[in-house]
Amino acid sequence: MTEAFYITAEELAAKGFENTPDELMSARHLIYSSPATLNFNSPGAKGFGVKRAGLAIPGSVMLLVAPGCCGRNTALLNELGYNERFFYLLLDDTDIVTGRHLTKIPKACKEVCDSLDYTPTAVMICITCVDALLGTDMERVCRKCEEATNVPTLPAYMYALTREKRLPPMAGIRKSVYGLLKPQKRHGDRCNILGYFAPLNENCELYGLLSSVGVSTQELARCDTIESYHRLSQANFNLVINPEARYAAQDMEKRLGIPYIEINRFLRIDKIRNQYRLLGQAIGVEFDDAAYYENAKRKIESFREKYGQLSFAVGECVNADSFEMALALTEYGHKVSEIYGTVGERNFFYIKKLAELSPDTRIFSNLSPTMLNYRRMTHIDITIGSDALYYHPDLPNVPFDEEEQPFGYELAEDLMEQLSNALEKEGK
């Protein structure tokens, strides 16, 4: 039996992205649906998948038009109180071959709307791989539904088949949920934060920094009424903090005339400081982030002092880029023994840097079938990510995958605090 496949950072950097081994490229092998990879495998499964994300518009409902298997795990969302907002039109074997279900959707929409004791703000029609293959024109279907119900209707494409395409499902749904916004007079002192379906942590410094220069922030996740949702189109600019929201921002620029600025999530505080400087330049202000920077720096240093050099295993089910996180931990004086992540063009830059500082770091792919045979072969003190916890249930772990999103210096501080708590819990 083959041992779990890995490659060191040094070896991978030397090969270059174009020569990444097949075992790290999900398109070239079967995909191991280990507990670590469910986020990858199902665009509707955990956290904010397409289905839950599609209900981000306040007061909206969703009609899932699909074979029963596509809607099965929606029951998980019932616990979160979504069961009154989900409806299903189940397709049979004739539907999926002939596409005859398309004529039933407007009628189903009408029946759903009539069954409610309120008028929904929107009906999201969620379709899946079947309609991707049938080439369904959902814009047309949505128009038909609107005619039948007088309720705005938007498509939600849960096309797992197109995951690596230009518009993967999670980028498509980000575009859809801003689809009801109409052009209106923009306010020079407002910006939208685009990126996630949960808000940033309350104490993220981004709010304070923008507020200090007279810019108020709006987020879809903080819109609890349809009125507050519509105010999103009054923003002067969009601040994109997750590349998956780029397509939505481009669409808003085209439709609503709202330009966007893209920034990244880092754990390395020097990069965060630099990014705030550039953001300030872009909007013509200067942010005073010195106190935030110093505070984060102090926490990082005191963590290092208290616990010494630790060996980490870093997973990818975390609110960060696992390779950037590994690089940051290495720069902060720790060791990263193993990373479980998905190598891409975007994060290969971090791998090259990591190869210089920590050439022996082993890089695994959660998705490789060989991970079925994974055994710990290196020294690890603590793990980050629920996937890393799966491989090392006996070690202290910080899941770092909360719904509310960490960002900026606050991310660094939050991680240090959670790491300390996990180690203290273990009596270290």
Binding site: M1, I31, G44, A45, C70, N73, D93, A108, T162, L372
Partner: protein
Amino acid sequence: MKKLLKFISPFAPDDSGACSVLYELGGITVICDAGGCAGNVCGFDEPRWFTKKSALFSAGLRDMDAILGRDDRLVAKLAKAQQQLEREFTAVVGTPVPAVIATDYKALERMAEKRTGVPCVTVSTDGTKLYDKGEEEAYLRLFKKFAVEAFPQEKGTAAVIGATPLDTGFTCADRIAEVIKAEGYSEVKCIGLDSGLDEIRRITRFEKIFVIAPSGIRAGAYLKESFGCDVQFHSCPLPADVTDKLSKLSPSGRTLVIHQQFTANGVRELLGGDVTCASFFMMDRSAAEEGDFHIADEADLAEKAAGFDHVIGDVSLRRALPDFKGEWTDLPHFAVSGRMF
């Protein structure tokens, strides 16, 4: 409107059922999907996922694989996985994607066997049917492929077909074995639950084969016809505490039990009195009593449950009966709500 669900979530689909049967048999199982179906199976319909490892993979199909029908790529990936993991057999489970493009499973099976050198079982599920259909086909295919030899019968032994978590709510065979052993058997094996491929190969050694869910009926009939096995229906065992709780019930008026048919029958045996059994899943006429009925959908449930005073069934179904004023006793069904006992 038919097939429109307003109150309940979809039940476990056929592909989940097939995977449930194959889960512990030690092969490589490939769900022929883009990833979402595998996520549903592993993340929701397979409660053993976090406790028992299985080589259950997604084919990771992409749109061009489906449009161009690139089965050769799937087989190449499967062969590579077999090279790495060295399993006794491989299995391919269908989903809506291969159904739309009319994948030829027989050809896929032959190609896979040729490339890997080990037997391959394909189950032509399409995600539109319910879990029991997938289980039924998986059991049948497995016995046809592997149970090819008649072994000498061993006294006091019993095998159980239909013991998946979706049907029984159990992730291990202990309770089922305990109940059957109490009926005079010294060795009890649940096919696919705490047992592997060998028990399928040597199924003919068992003195008795009990079928505890409708999904096992066709496989049982095949074994009876092909090898003369002694196959018998058996009510599906319940956890001891649930049995105790149900035994203490003294429902007045008409009682409706909703579950998989053989569990519902078991509850009726416990309760006695005016009890009707119903199921959203397969129902075998020979195991039904007069008045038992199949439930087609939500609207059908609302219509047929009217007039009953007491319902015993998964509490998630109650939402579909807003006008029901009687008593409800919760009896979880994993294939309905994803809840264990």
